[in-house]
Amino acid sequence: MKSLLMMLLLFPLLGGLYHALLGVRLDRRWSEIVAVAAVAGSLIMAVAAAVVAGGRPVIFPLLEWFSVGELAASMDAMYDPLAAVMAVLVTFIAALVHLFSVIYMRREGGYARYYCYLNLFVFFMLVIVTADNLLFLFLGWEGVGFCSYALIGFWYRDAYHADAARKAFLVTRIGSAALGIAIGLFFTAFQSLSMDYITHHAGMLSAGMVLAIGLLLLAAAAGKSALLPLSIWLPDAMAGPTPVSALIHAATMVTAGVYLLLRLYPVLVLSPVAMGVTAAVGAVTALYGACSALAQHDIKRVLAYSTVSQLGFMVLGIGAEDPTGGLFHLLSQAFFKALLFLAAGCIIQSLSGEHDIFRMGRKVRHALPKVYGCFLIGALSLAAVPPTIGFFSKDRLLLTNLTHPSIFHAVLWIIGTLTTLITALYVFRLFFLVFYGGPGPKRTQAPEPGPVRPILVWTLYPLAFLALAGGVMNLPIGSWNFLDRYLMPVAGLGPPLEASPSLEWGVRIGNAVVALIGIGLAYLAYGPRPLKEKPATAPDSMQNLLYSGFYLNKLYHRWVVRPYEQAAAFLSNRVDHGGVDAVMTGSGRLASRWSMNLRLWTTGRLSTYLGVLLAGFTAMLVILALGLL
């Protein structure tokens, strides 16, 4: 068991080291094989470890890291059902993305760097997933942040990409700071950083401590999982290559924050206020992301805002005391979002780098019929149309909010249902524009779609299957709730509240109808139509508001970036140049002026030296004789 876990972590790490040390010197083909094999090996180990563990939580010390006084940071691995589900998910998606990358990135330089960071990305995510010690988790947390920075800025010579990478790195650091403080509070409270210990002794915490830690954990998750108000980095992270986007959105980056909340759920649940704030942040983020996705032009930005929205749903589920539902939605989102991103990658490659959905159209559907089918499945799943996995996971989250005793959650339920409607609307707007749009004003210059390599399409099939039929893993009927039962041994994770069958079916049918209405609206506004007719558009002010993501970037720029720049300019000009530097250069100039005067003494004339010698000697003797000293 221990060796399985070791190999699970070591495969991607060794893969990353191989690319870092040997990748450039050896053949490109070898890099690709090593990268894919490392992650595939990791996937096999994750599955094997899950089978061997058999649903029981197991904790292993892997390595001693350091210990100072009472603070012991050992690299302990915990492999319980929650970690097992996540590890299998992460390695599965990552393996497909690696395979996709081999073809997608075949014409790009810097392949050793690319595969190195891709493998390390998976390694650090697996560290987060399997860590028991909070500091070990923090190591993975920061490593994931660094790898995302390196991959978003893969084309770093272009200022736009480099800026996006820096932005992602800086914004996620805010969450990291919150997590660091939370770890410190945990240590002062428990004298231990083992999450297993913490979750089983969470009752020891005082009420104030629980609230502080709960809010800090939420802030940490908001940074990593792009929840409001820290969601601004995710849409810009689209600057990276498309497979990286798929990896970030489905498996290795944004799920980390949600996973942290699930891991430490027994602490979070103790504070009703923190739970309420979590649920509210989730609901508002879901609505925000969905609305912003409505007006985007870039196919990847639509999907990015959609991820923001879906992450909001997961957190909403956790806040409504259904962490298993949150995890279920995490899985479902991972499947259909990876599917949509990889399909988008196929389309982008086929159109030789075109991202603008108003320049795509029916030609794409004719050129790529298989991608069209897979994209449709992904879109249906995202729009929560039965019987896709997206329907079951979202239905469960909404039902949990409705059955929650607090009236507050009824409001969140309304927001959630509204978001479901908008979700169906934006995803089918995207779908119709990409695959059915006739030649509009911008389409005349659109590039001709070319064929794509079949391997790219093959990687979509397993994801399409899971997005369509994955709901079987946790059906809300009878004893089909395999995921619920599998996760039972994990502290804090259990089945949702019981609801009366009539309410349950009412909500379920209602959700399906809402999703279908959304699709119908999208069809009316953007569906196939005669070539001359222009698609519907919203008023400009509305369009701009949504397109810019409610001006969130501008707000940050106005209230954070600009004051910071002004403070920096003040410190640089007034304090540094005007103060510190002035003192330094002033004293230097004084010394050099004095030395100019002293220089006059060294005339090179012997008589001067003798005269000075005699005068000085005389002065000394006079002082001694008169007893002045």
Binding site: R599, T602, T603, G604, R605, L606, S607, L610, L614
Partner: protein
């Protein structure tokens, strides 16, 4: 001792001052060396006078050393000047200003 000690000191001081002024003011190397010799002898004079005044032989013995040092100094100095003169044909101290800062 028939000469008062004060007179000896005054004469020695006068000689020392003259030697110092000669060494500092003249530019010819030979004259500077002579100034230094006069200063050394002024010091020797004080030693002799002091020895007689206090009736000890230490001062007189010291004068022998001073004379030896002065002779050696004059010998080495004159040889140096001789070589300098041969190289540049110049005995003016101010011509040698390569140490000027």
């Amino acid at each position: 001792m028939i000469v008062p000690f004060g007179h000896v000191l005054f004469l020695a001081g006068l000689l020392f001052l003259m030697g110092a002024v000669c060494a500092a003011a003249r530019r010819n190397l030979i004259m500077i060396l002579m100034g230094v010799e006069v200063m050394l002898n002024a010091a020797g004079l004080v030693f002799v006078g002091a020895a007689l005044h206090w009736g000890t032989l230490d001062g007189q013995a010291f004068v022998i050393f001073i004379m030896g040092v002065a002779a050696a100094e004059a010998g080495v100095g004159l040889v140096l000047f001789y070589y300098l003169n041969r190289r540049t044909g110049d005995t003016d101290a101010d011509s040698y200003h390569t140490l000027k800062g």
